[in-house]
């Protein structure tokens, strides 16, 4: 049993509207923007066959968004499953109308079997005859049974288009029956498409409420549109078009994209339009396309309720978005009914609701697709094609292109003598003049709404969206302020290179605006180009030396460049102009502190904290400065203030507690120091210094085991830190655990062999070890090996060797390998012998 196939046609069929009868390979190529969805649907279908699951999927997209295309591709991709009858497919064609109830739906499935499975057609025909003769009350049951018998134990996959219309036709009762059947049968899946989300799926009291997983088809992006048109040209092998699309054509594709709102099918229609891109042909092709599209759009409107038709008509002719109250008034629709109709039109994707910037409680409504508006207008035009064509040209061409064309026709007009031709040329000039006027108006409207949108996005902190809005600004409206706004947004976004470029453009258009130059300085500063930043600030200061902020910015740039002397002067200027400039005091404090001028740093930080009591960093640095000046109580006070200005979970709290511990340590208050370090550890258990300092404190208090435990925690955090090995050595040495102490000192010395204190302590501990008389040969040999060749420890190394030989090998004469003074020391201090 091989399913029948009717897919033999090529690209020309595709271009003439629709995917129904096109070769699968071409359909696959044209899957721009839909490939991922097609792959997902195929995956679902294969799961049905291979994994014994069901998949209930509802694909939603407006007319012409590629739904038929997707289902066709899916069907072709699963031909193997269909042929092997691993899945029985009932594929409802788009144009199959006439479902008036549940029985019709079931018959549609049987018809689909007959259509796609030739071999079974006669048997199915016979059974349909029986069904026809069955009493009405039993027909649904018999039809269900007929399908179940045909399908057997195989899964049934229903592929359906316009499923929202089918659900509507089934009504609540029919839907209930269908759902019950799906549950009774157990192995039926539905993958269906619809133009809009059906109200039958979204209401709690409807049978299919929440039943399907929805996939919404997105509109094509501009890039997708360009790719689709390029793919069409490639498939046609149209080299001229490919070249056009790689260059000048891109602008036109953008215009088409805007016009068709990313709609697959309309985009394909306009492909022909691109081919006819000559000035002379344009108006003719335009009208032809519009007339071709008119019936297509009429189907949008024909089946709508009368009130919705009136609203669409009104909005189309109004051209600009309208308020709900105006729509109600002009269409004579009561408010209660209007709300419902507007929301239904939105659901059908025929109108858009836009925010009303003049009144946030209101919304404005506009026709979703420009072409729909134009199609409605065609029927209403009294002025022939002029107004429509003007509308179109305003969308199609840029400002400059229109100007150039107008000039071109004007030059022809001047030399033309034939009256009829002259009249024709006058018409061309007039049309472009009007288009320019309209474009100026459209752009001005759109510029103001774009600016509002940018500000709105900036207010909400969505900088990326603000930039996207800005990109929509018509080129002719991109003035200095626009570029500055873009640059400023980039600054906020942290994209500093882009901000420099944008602000330079603004300055190019308006070189006198000091605000631009000031921000250019900020942008330069952010990218680390301090020379240019300084130059920009100085330029601003020259024009207006009284702005403390510019002096402050200049100071930051100078300081960042390493010029702390000039930076100090600049901060002082800023502070002279604005004595309560807390940030400037703070930064000045930092400069003083970096130069170890703690007295002046303390003054600056105190000014900063007085002006801004919540300035945590200033309190913190004040604490550091006081400590450096040995003004410990001032330091404790400042650190405590720093701790009180942030939340309990503030990131730097552990650092402040640690510093506080150090200050208490300096004051000799080991208990408070210990408590402070413990607090630091509570704030951040990974604070190496807090663990280390707590260890030192405990060591000082004679709590050796605690100290060792603290150091070991610190050691885990930084295994290669010399100091921590050293401190562990200290703790063990204090406990007279010489073996451990030597091991830790050795490690410390290995990490940093130049640390004199470590080396001295290691030597002293080894001597103590030898003196302790608790060594053994093995340990001594280990030590000998470790110390061998280390020049710092050459004497010690000899001592160990001599010690082992004298004590363990009883080789007294080894003592004579030492010079006399060393031998006396060795015998007296290490061997503890009485020697003169």
């Amino acid at each position: 049993m091989i399913p029948t196939s009717d897919s033999k046609n090529g690209l020309s069929t595709f271009l003439s509207f629709g995917a129904k009868s096109v070769q699968p390979a071409i359909l696959e190529k044209m899957l721009v923007g839909r490939l991922q969805t097609a792959d997902l649907l195929e995956q679902y279908a294969r799961q049905i066959a291979d994994n014994g699951v069901n998949n209930q999927v509802f694909i939603v997209g407006p007319r012409g968004s590629g739904k038929t295309h997707l289902l066709r591709v899916l069907y072709h991709r699963i031909t193997d499953l269909v042929q092997e009858k691993r899945v029985i497919v009932a594929y409802f064609a788009e144009e199959e109308y006439g479902i008036s109830g549940y029985l019709d739906f079931l018959i549609r499935i049987i018809n689909a079997f007959m259509r796609w499975y030739d071999v079974d057609k006669p048997a199915l025909e016979t059974q349909l005859n029986i069904l026809r003769e069955t009493p009405e009350s039993r027909q649904e049951y018999i039809a269900e049974k007929l399908i179940s018998d045909y399908v057997g134990d195989k899964p049934l996959l229903i592929l359906s288009e316009n499923f929202d219309a089918i659900l509507e036709a089934l009504g609540r009762n029919g839907q209930g029956k269908l759902r019950a059947w799906l549950y009774r049968h157990n192995r039926i899946s539905i993958m269906a498409t619809a133009q809009a989300t059906s109200p039958d799926l979204g209401r709690e009291d409807r049978p299919f409420y929440g039943f399907f997983s929805t996939i919404k088809l997105k509109k094509l992006s501009y890039e997708d549109s360009l790719t689709l048109l390029t793919t069409l040209a490639e498939t046609e092998k149209n080299e001229k078009m490919l070249t056009h699309l790689a260059g000048k054509g891109r602008g036109q594709v953008r215009a088409i994209h805007e016009l068709v709102k990313g709609n697959h099918r309309l985009l394909v229609t306009f492909y022909e339009f691109l081919k006819a891109d000559t000035l002379a042909d344009l108006s003719v092709v335009f009208m032809k396309t519009m007339n071709d599209l008119k019936p297509y759009y009429e189907t949008f409107i024909r089946f709508l309720p009368a009130q919705q038709q009136k609203i669409l008509h009104y909005l189309a002719l109004a051209k600009i978005p309208q308020k709900g109250t105006d729509i109600g008034k002009n269409c004579f629709i009561a408010t209660a009914s209007l709300t419902k109709q507007l929301s239904e039109l939105q659901r059908r994707h025929l109108i858009d609701a836009l925010p009303d910037f003049t009144d946030k409680r209101n919304k404005l409504y506009d026709v979703s697709e420009p072409l729909l508006r134009i199609a409605i207008e065609i029927g209403e035009q009294r002025e022939g094609i002029t107004a429509l064509f003007v509308d179109f040209m305003a969308l199609w061409y840029s400002h400059d292109e229109l100007k150039t064309q107008k000039a071109y026709f004007e030059s022809l007009y001047l030399v033309e003598e034939r009256p009829s031709q002259k009249q024709k040329l006058y018409y061309e000039i007039y049309a472009r003049e009007k288009a320019l006027e309209l474009k100026t108006h459209i752009e001005s409207e759109s510029a103001s709404s774009i600016l509002k949108a940018i500000f709105k996005k900036l207010e909400s902190g969505n900088f990326e969206a603000a930039i996207s809005e800005a990109e929509e600004m018509p080129l002719s409206r991109r003035d200095a302020n626009y570029h500055f706004l873009v640059g400023y947004t980039y600054i906020l976004q942290g994209k500093n290179v882009e901000s420099v470029q944008a602000i330079l453009k603004a300055i190019e258009l308006d070189s006198d605006n000091s605000e631009f130059i000031k921000h250019l300085g900020v942008a330069y500063s952010r990218i680390g180009d301090y020379d240019n930043a300084i130059e920009a600030y100085k330029e601003v200061i020259q024009a207006d030396p009284g702005d403390p902020q510019t002096w402050y910015n200049l100071a930051i740039a100078l300081h960042s460049k390493g010029d702390s002397i000039d930076a100090t002067d600049a901060y002082k200027k800023a502070l002279h102009l604005k004595p309560n400039f807390a940030e400037a005091w703070y930064n000045l404090g930092d400069i003083y502190r970096s130069k170890q001028n703690y007295e002046q740093a303390i003054d600056a930080y105190r000014n900063a904290t007085e002006l801004d009591k919540e300035k945590r960093e200033a309190w913190y640095n004040l604490g550091i400065s006081y400590n450096a000046q040995k003004e410990y109580y001032g330091s404790i006070d400042a650190y405590s203030k720093a701790l009180n200005t942030g939340s309990e979970a503030s990131v730097k709290n552990h650092v402040i507690w640690n510093n506080l511990g150090i200050v208490y340590g300096n004051l000799g208050d080991l208990n408070k120091a210990g408590l402070a370090y413990t607090k630091a550890i509570e704030c951040n258990s990974n604070d190496f210094w807090a663990w280390n300092n707590l260890g030192v404190t405990n060591l000082s208090k004679g709590l050796f085991q605690k100290a060792i435990s603290n150091f070991q925690k610190a050691h885990l955090l930084r295994p290669n830190e010399h100091g921590i090995w050293h401190n562990l050595g200290l703790a063990y040495q204090a406990q007279r655990d010489y073996t451990q102490a030597i091991m830790y000192y050795q490690k410390a010395s290995e990490i940093d062999p130049k640390q004199k204190e470590t080396n001295d302590r290691l030597a002293a501990t080894v001597i103590d070890f030898l003196k302790s008389n608790k060594t053994d040969t093995a340990e001594l040999i280990d030590l000998e090996v470790w110390f061998e060749g280390k020049s710092t420890f050459s004497v010690l190394s000899t001592y160990i060797n001599i010690y082992r030989r004298v004590v363990f090998d009883k080789e007294e004469k080894a003592l004579y390998e030492l010079p006399k003074e060393q031998r006396i020391f060795f015998e007296r201090e290490i061997l503890r012998r009485n020697v003169e």
């Binding site: 998949n55 069955t134 009350s137 029919g174 209930g176 029956k177 549950y183 929440g210 929805t214």
Partner: protein, 412 residues
């Protein structure tokens, strides 16, 4: 059990692929030992799948006490209801495990109709959807059930009849002017309960999303119905999935071509998903669907967060499922009650902990008795969870945190 692939889409799931719920099935069996059961639960909580699995396993495992699943959605009249039941019984009889003699039904049928229907299709030979039958349907229905009871008695086994979507069927009958039929059918069910009680061989499970109480309230208020047909039945509340079931569900869904950004994080991601979905299987499916559709099936912290954002903020099938809570108020309750109930939910969606009844009354400018009634209805209709504080005052909170968050974001 080894995980097996299941699809991320929602809708119907084949009986043998329904994940988990073994604990709930055992609980159900325990309850059925002594009495029949009513299950009221809002839509998409997994009632139907639980019952279908229960019925499927009883046959698959050849248990002595089997269950039969009927779905009454779309059953628009008494006649078609009888048809649905008899057709299903005949189907099951063909499979061999259900021995229905149906002699009482046949006798009755011949008495009413005289002759058999003239048209045959394979082995199906009779229909009760005939004019004369209209007045005799109660007898036929009773005869059929009693026949089943007798047969089960002879075998020493018990049969459970599951009537899924019973309340919505009755609601539709009321809505389309057939409240009298609804009341007659409810009375018949009650009578049947007593007539088969002695044999103790038939149990019923009545299941639906709108709540039998809502149907009864409507009949009481508008049609002076006084019956209490479910007094003798035990209410069963379907809980969210157990942790192990929910994690297993994730494992099964994951097999449908998903990947983790870091495989070591898989368990943590699953735990995060089930926790945030309150272990409600429908939403777990929906999150995986969003991940599949919007993130190419990659699980990572950002994609999971985004999937939840989509779930809670965007218009989709899943958001419609949240929306049901709002719609239920409007569809099944009078306007004033609905408004007050909505105010209660708005308030509770913003509360960080359960709110005492008194605090709710104080916060809302409505009559206190009305607030109490509204809270009680919301609790009864499974919107809210009720607890008692230390002073034994009633306190209320959303039953599911996921739904609370949705309400706060979209309705409050």
């Amino acid at each position: 059990m080894k995980p097996y692939l299941i699809s991320t889409t929602t809708g119907s799931i084949p009986d043998d692929k329904i994940v988990g719920r073994d604990r709930e099935i055992e609980l159900l069996k325990d309850l059925l030992e002594s009495q029949s059961v009513v299950i009221d639960e809002i839509r998409r909580m997994g009632k139907t799948l639980l019952l279908k699995k229960f019925a499927y396993l009883s046959v698959e495992n050849d248990e002595p006490n089997k269950a039969l699943y009927f779905i009454f959605q779309g059953t628009d009249s008494i006649n078609s209801l009888t048809d649905v039941i008899l057709n299903e019984l005949r189907q099951k009889e063909k499979y061999g495990w259900l021995k229905v003699q149906m002699h009482r039904c046949s006798e009755l049928y011949h008495k009413i109709r005289g002759d058999k229907a003239s048209v045959k299709y394979q082995d199906i030979e009779f229909s009760f959807a005939l004019p004369d039958f209209k007045i005799e349907w109660k007898k036929a229905f009773r005869a059929c059930i009693e026949d089943l009871a007798d047969h089960q008695l002879a075998k020493g086994e018990r049969l459970t009849l599951i009537f899924d979507e019973l309340p919505i069927m009755l609601w539709e009958w009321i809505r389309t002017g057939r409240a009298a039929d609804a009341m007659a059918f409810l009375d018949l069910l009650r009578d049947l309960h007593f007539s088969v009680k002695n044999s103790d061989r038939i149990r019923f499970i009545f299941c639906g999303s709108i709540g039998m109480q809502v149907v009864l309230d409507k009949l009481k208020q508008e049609h002076q119905y006084t019956g209490e047909p479910f007094n003798h039945m035990q209410k069963f509340q379907l809980p969210p999935m157990g942790e192990a079931d929910a994690l297993f569900l994730c494992e099964c869904l994951y097999l449908a071509h998903f990947q983790c950004d870091q495989i070591a994080s898989k368990s943590a991601y699953f735990e995060d998903i089930i926790e945030r979905c309150n272990r409600l299987p429908y939403f777990i499916h929906s999150v995986f669907h969003n991940l599949k559709h919007n993130a190419q099936g990659i699980l990572s912290n950002p994609t999971i967060n985004e999937a939840f954002e989509t779930l809670l903020k965007e218009k989709s099938a899943a958001s419609d499922v949240f929306e049901q809570l709002h719609q239920r108020l409007l569809i099944y309750y009078p306007q004033n009650s609905a408004k007050l109930m909505r105010s209660c939910l708005n308030l509770l969606s913003k509360a960080s902990a359960p709110m005492s009844e008194q605090d709710i009354k104080t916060a809302l400018s409505f009559d206190e008795d009305d607030v109490q009634t509204a809270l009680n209805l919301l609790w009864r209709d499974d919107f809210l969870h009720r607890t008692f504080d230390e002073q034994e005052n009633r306190a209320y909170a959303f039953r599911y945190s996921l739904i609370k968050r949705w309400w706060k974001l979209n309705k409050a």
